[in-house]
């Protein structure tokens, strides 16, 4: 175990894809055991940052330490330090839910006994246990998402990355997931780094928040501090005050556009 205080240290991190600068000179730290929300509009650079922290992408410049290790030069050590739930699917559709869980557990060296206990516990919690021996390709979207999260929680890493983990899930499931994560973080001092578009979720769960937009960090602090800075009532309003109300991508759904228009009028 690394004794240093910060689980994640990022300094002057930059990522350019050809001419486009996706992440533009950002710096932040996340302390050990902290639950940290990384918020931003679509295309702000959240996933790119997570990819650089998790060894999937090499930075253009800047300094990154995850659990005290460099993701470029000490890849395996970094990979041993974290678990991740990706934004897009990463399950094997041709395997059963149980196999997906079990192979993940083996890859992450979770001892057999503990592995079986946790798999059963998590699959029961997410109401997938009865269908554990079905191929994942027969699952609905929500079931796949639940399995994805269950798998990410199987080994208890020292740092857990969650990239929009709860997208598309009902409020019951979302609550269940966050309760579990908060408890795990507290009991085992797990650092949690997550992104979400549900501002209420971030306000409730995260101890600290960073808001990124156009590849730059616009504000950092606790939810209360951000509200105070922007003189707003909720984190969502603070978020909009900081990032503006323009829609960033053609991907924005009609629903969020309607909501935005309603807000402007109201």
């Amino acid at each position: 175990m690394n004794s240093q205080e910060n689980a994640i240290e990022v300094k002057n991190l930059v990522k350019k894809f050809n001419e486009i600068t996706a992440v533009n000179d950002i710096s932040f730290t996340v302390s050990r055991g902290e639950i940290f929300a990384f918020l931003g509009p679509n295309g702000a650079g959240k996933s790119t940052t997570i990819k650089m922290l998790t060894t999937l992408l090499a930075p253009t410049s800047g300094c990154v330490l995850v659990n005290g290790f460099n993701p470029v030069t000490e890849q395996t050590k970094v990979r041993k330090s974290f678990g991740i739930v990706f934004q897009d699917p990463s399950l094997d559709d041709e395997l059963t839910a149980y196999e997906n869980m079990n192979y993940h557990g083996i890859l992450y060296s979770v001892p057999r006994q503990l592995r079986q206990e946790r798999i059963q516990g998590l699959l029961q919690m997410f109401e997938l246990w009865d269908r554990r021996n079905h191929l994942v390709k027969t699952y609905s979207g929500g079931m796949k998402r639940r399995l994805e999260i269950a798998r990410g929680l199987l080994h208890h890493p020292s740092i857990l990355f969650l990239d929009e983990p709860t997208v598309g899930l009902d409020p019951q499931t979302r609550n269940l997931i966050w309760e579990y994560i908060k408890e795990m973080s507290k009991e085992e001092n797990v650092t949690v780094f997550f992104t979400t578009h549900y501002m209420d979720e971030a306000a409730r769960v995260a101890e600290r928040v960073a808001i990124i937009d156009n590849g730059r960090i616009m504000a950092q602090g606790s939810s209360d501090q951000l509200k105070e800075q922007t003189k707003t009532e909720s984190l969502e309003d603070a978020f909009l005050a900081i990032t503006g109300t323009a829609i960033r991508e053609e991907e924005a759904s009609p629903y969020s556009r309607m909501r935005l228009i309603a807000r402007r009028r109201g």
């Binding site: 999937l56 090499a58 990463s90 395997l95 890859l107």
Partner: protein, 248 residues
């Protein structure tokens, strides 16, 4: 070791569960065997070269292994598209073992397909020269399978979409197959074709199959072993290097 096991067993399970793939991968070699075997059989015989089906079986087995191996290796493209690749890329094990596990899995599947073709060829009257050579034949099948699975992984590591897969089939697999001597004898060829067949790695695999199954090696099993073994190591090294460099 854990990673090797997981990636290996995964390939096997996917293979066992995909019946259409097993049957599809067997249809082509059987068609070659029956259409070419019987079609050219009479001419081959008249030319004094013996029984064409006997000549063809080792070639068709090599072909099956080549196709299945390259396909298994290229599954990285699928895994990239459907997301599972990420799960293995962040796993807390060296990517070398991930790549090696995939290669072993793909090679096991390809060897199994080769053995099934060998078995099926007995229906059309094929018999091995000496069944005690079977273990050596299987060993060669596995080496050929490793070689081409690793090659598939090496190439697929650089590709990001399905279009690339078609390129692999047309510009790599087909020439490797047709220029390997799988369908024709390597003796008495025009000089230029002789040179090309000597460059084609599959030639040595086909020859090893003919040596072990028919006791009719043209190049010598020692040379076959040397070339296929060396290339297997080279492709494994190259494949694991390129696999380790994958970014998402």
């Amino acid at each position: 070791m854990n990673a090797l096991y997981v990636l290996w067993i995964r390939q096997l399970k996917r293979y066992m569960r995909s019946r259409s793939r097993i049957i599809g991968a067997l249809g082509q070699p059987l068609m070659f065997l029956i259409a070419l075997g019987y079609g050219f059989g009479a001419i081959f015989q008249r030319a004094g070269a013996g029984n064409y089906i006997y000549f063809l079986v080792p070639g068709v087995i090599s072909q099956t292994i080549l196709f299945t191996s390259v396909f298994s290796g290229s599954e990285i493209i699928w895994d990239r598209q459907f997301g599972f690749l990420k799960e293995t890329l962040v796993a807390p094990v060296s990517r070398f073992y991930i790549m090696l596990g995939r290669t072993l899995g793909g090679a096991t599947v390809a060897t199994a397909q080769g053995l099934i073709v060998l078995l099926l060829s007995h229906i059309v009257g094929y018999r091995m020269e000496n069944y005690l050579m079977l273990p050596l034949a299987i060993a060669f099948m596995f080496i050929i399978a490793l070689m081409f699975t690793a090659l598939g992984i090496a190439i697929a590591s650089r590709l990001t979409d399905f279009q690339g897969f078609q390129l692999i089939i047309n510009f790599l697999v087909m020439p490797l197959f047709f220029l390997s001597g799988a369908l024709f004898p390597l003796s008495n060829l025009p000089k230029s074709l002789t040179i090309i067949t000597r460059i084609d790695p599959l030639s040595y695999g086909v020859d090893a199959m003919r040596g072990t199954l028919n006791n009719a090696s043209h190049l010598g099993l020692g040379l076959d072993m040397l070339v296929t073994g060396t290339l297997t190591l080279a492709f494994l090294a190259g494949g694991s290097y390129l696999f380790a460099k994958i970014e998402i």
